[in-house]
Amino acid sequence: MKGGLGIGRLAIRHAALAAVIGVAMGAAFSVLQIDGAYRDSVDAERREILQMMAVMREPAVQACYNLNEQAARVIVQGALSYVPVQQATLVSDFGEMLARGANPAPAAQAGAWWTRFVAPTQDYRLALEFGPARKRVGEMTVVTAQAPRMERFLQGAWRDVGMNVLRSVTVALALGLLSFLTLTRPLTAIVRRITAGQTLPPNAPPMPEARRDDEIGQIARAFEHHEREAGERARSLEASSRALAASEVRYRRIVETAGEGVWQLDAQGGTALANVALARMLGTTPERMMGRPLTEFVDPGDQAVAQGYLLGGPRPEVERFEMRFRRSDGRAVWAEVSTCPVVDADGRLLGTLAMVTNATERRRRDEQLRTTNARLQSMVADLQRHKSDMAQIAELNGLLQSARTEDEAFDILRAAAAQLFRDCPGGFSVTGPDDEMRVVGTWGDADSLPAHYRRSACWAIRRGGPHRETGEHGVRCSHRAPDQAGSMLCTPLYVEGELIGVLHLSVDPGTPSLDGSVQQRTEVFGEVVKLGLSNLRLRETLSAQALRDALTGLPNRRMADETLPRELLRCLRAGEPLTLALVDVDHFKRFNDTYGHDAGDRVLCAVAQVLVQNLRASDLACRYGGDEFLCVLPGMTAEDARSRFEAALGQMAECAGSTGLPDEAITFTVGLAAAPDCGSNAAALVSAADVALYAAKARGRNCVEVAAAEATPTLFDPSGLMPAGAAVTAFRTTRP
């Protein structure tokens, strides 16, 4: 405040301002004054000239009226005697100059600066009119030079301007002095006190200006009031700042010794604070971390996440997330991070504070737990699947057990496989004759297998075990179409070393490859199928063995007992005839005795063959026991049957002496009984046929005898259905 010691900047500024205003106003007043003065001088000259012309008017009129040049000259000379007049002329109304005169031009006029603004001459014209009629007789023209007037005017103007400026400056200086005395000096004292400010002792005497009762006094008092308040506030601030420093030391110690990592980032992502725990977690020291950017400590894979959470805009709340840090040795560290923004009083984001907890170990345990859980779930699913598979397979097993024929079995098998191998289209082939495999059932995409293939085409058969081919790996079975994609599993089914069939499963290229569960399922399925089929075959064999005569291959008596009542009932219902025949080989005992049992067996076979050859396919011929055969011929009358059997007798005779047979005529005797003529039930028919057979035997053998039609009362139940054994037994008992 150097100005405070001198005259005062304020006073100088006031004086300068006043001077400027004064000069400006002086100039403005001068302009107005000069303008007025100029107009006055112009008016004065105009008045003077007009007055002069008015005086000269009458003589000039007379001179022009009379065209008197002499008089005109006198008038012109008179006009020229006026100082400003430079030139005067008198012209008649005929346009002729009557007189003309001029004064020498004033020297100052040429080239004076004011001629640029003011015309150097001024013309005055006076029309001259004569008489009461005001007849125009001429014109008087006076030209005045402006130079004398302008010189007079300019002298006055300069003097006026000078005086005005002088007056203005004087007033301005007076105002400056007044301002200094009344404003600047007391204000300077206050300023000096404000500058001294804090250096003054607290009990400094009050300023003398404070005793004034004007505005300056108010300022001084207000300042003293604020000075006292400021002192108190400064002392309180000092105390709270000390407390704050202590608190900061405390908190810093807490942060530095905390087990959790503490990390503070500024708004640009640089490290503003890092404690020992964090540094240790990252394999470095807090000092080395200071100031370095966030990106150096974060795993490259989590940069975006970290920047999103730690550098994003202001977030209102605490946020938790996990991310990977990159240790100084290059290893990744999983950490749980909770962040909160650090903002200043205006809400501007200063940075982010993050609490970092090492989460690597926990994540590892979590991962283990997750894997175990997944495995368990998968196992449970497998088990459930297995269970459902097993249920289906058990059902399949039951169904297979119930199947009567292989075709039924194949249908069941196909349906079950379509359920079990829903994702794996495939097929099942069984062994056919002559090395051929016959595909008996497919499911899913049926065109993956041909209808037949050679046994050698399948590598599973050749290897004697399951064969798998997955496009790139494994030998390709030639029964697969060459353009077929995906993989195929062929499982051969063997029972006691004999091939029953092959199970083919194919997997589309898009679906997952054959996994263990499918293989497992295949094995179980294969076992069940293999056992079921072998069972079926066994049953068929057993059934055949039970119903057929092992020697001749003809159905046995049980078969006859089953068939006869059924056929009989059917023909009776349909109103058709049915003929029953009993055939007995003549003198069979003699063949056995003479040629041995082998020859006897061959005789029986030969008879059986001839019978079969002479009967229709719908007829039944069975060995009834010993050397007796029973034939059922549905829909055939007794006479027709006789001719057939007679043909058979003829054929038999031709067989005599053929290979393996005794060299002796083989003959047989036939007894026929037709329903309903000879009875409507099996027993009655058999009995009638037996009677006819005996009659034929009695007639000499090698012939056919038909039982007479007679009303044989029904012996047993009207339906004719009775246990076969009972009928036969009854028959036997009646037999001699």
Binding site: Y65, L67, F94, E96
Partner: protein, 275 residues
């Protein structure tokens, strides 16, 4: 080519028409120009009685009477207009504002803008006026030598007289004729040389007719003519005027008109009384 010959014929016809018009105009002479001069405005010295003087806005007198008769005879309308003092009358004619100045003396400088009639309109003899109480014997100019004469300033009295006066006579110039007559009546001069008729008119005006009279022998026989303004179309009337002026003169009309004008002048003076 039919249209071209047609146009040529038209052109020839037009040329013929033009030639005819020109030659007709030449043959018609003044008569053809006459329509351009329907009205003659003339003036004269407003203060030259009895030839002519101003009465209000009109000029009257002997000249006006004579000219009016001639113009009436020619069938042209006319006006005798007062246009101002004598220099103004001359300037008006010079600028063509009037067509004719009647009865003035031809001079070379006036010839520049006026065409004068060959025949004079009036005689304007110069006479010597003497007081009846002091008679002067006048047989020739030599008789005036030794006497004191008076003259109006600016008057020209004929070349011969002017030269003689320069050489031998004692003449006092006065501003007006009236002053000269007063001086003569008072005996301060012996004679006054001026126009015979104008002098008589002045004497009538002054009432000195019984005391002053002109001598019977004139100093010279001057004549005055009509001058047409060269700028006026009425200059075409010059020839006709010449003839009629000559006829009037032969008939003695001019002298008669002058006497009538003097009477008119006197009658006009009577009601006005003596100034």
């Amino acid at each position: 080519m039919a249209w071209r010959s047609g146009r040529l014929g038209l052109l020839l016809l037009a040329l013929l028409g033009a030639v005819t018009a020109v030659s007709g105009a030449g043959a018609a002479g003044a008569a053809a120009v006459a329509p351009e001069c329907k009205r003659v405005v003339f003036s004269a010295n407003p203060d030259y009685p009895p030839y002519h003087w101003a009465e209000g806005e009109r000029i009257v007198g002997a000249s006006v009477a004579l000219t009016g008769r001639i113009l009436d005879d020619l069938g042209v309308a006319w006006e005798a207009r007062f246009v101002g003092p004598w220099p103004r009358v001359l300037k008006s004619a010079e600028h063509g504002q009037i067509d004719l100045i009647v009865s003035l003396k031809p001079t070379p400088e006036r010839e520049a803008y006026l065409v004068f009639t060959r025949s004079p309109s009036f005689p304007n003899p110069m006479a010597v006026f003497t007081a009846k109480a002091r008679p002067v014997k006048f047989g020739g100019l030599e008789d005036l030598v030794g006497k004191r004469g008076g003259r109006t300033a600016g008057d020209r009295l004929g070349d011969a007289f002017d030269r003689f006066a320069e050489r031998a006579l004692t003449l006092e110039d006065a501003d007006t004729l009236g002053v000269n007559f007063q001086k003569l009546a008072a005996g301060r001069i012996d004679y006054v040389v001026t126009g015979l008729y104008t002098g008589r008119a002045q004497l009538l005006q002054l009432g000195l007719g019984d005391r002053i009279a002109p001598l019977p022998r004139p100093v010279n026989e001057g004549f005055i003519h009509h001058g047409f303004a060269r700028r006026s179309p009425c200059v075409a009337l010059l020839e006709a005027f010449d003839e009629r002026l000559a006829a009037a003169r032969k008939a003695g009309l001019d002298a008669r008109l002058l006497e009538e004008a003097l009477q008119q002048w006197r009658n006009r003076q009577a009601p006005a009384g003596q100034p």
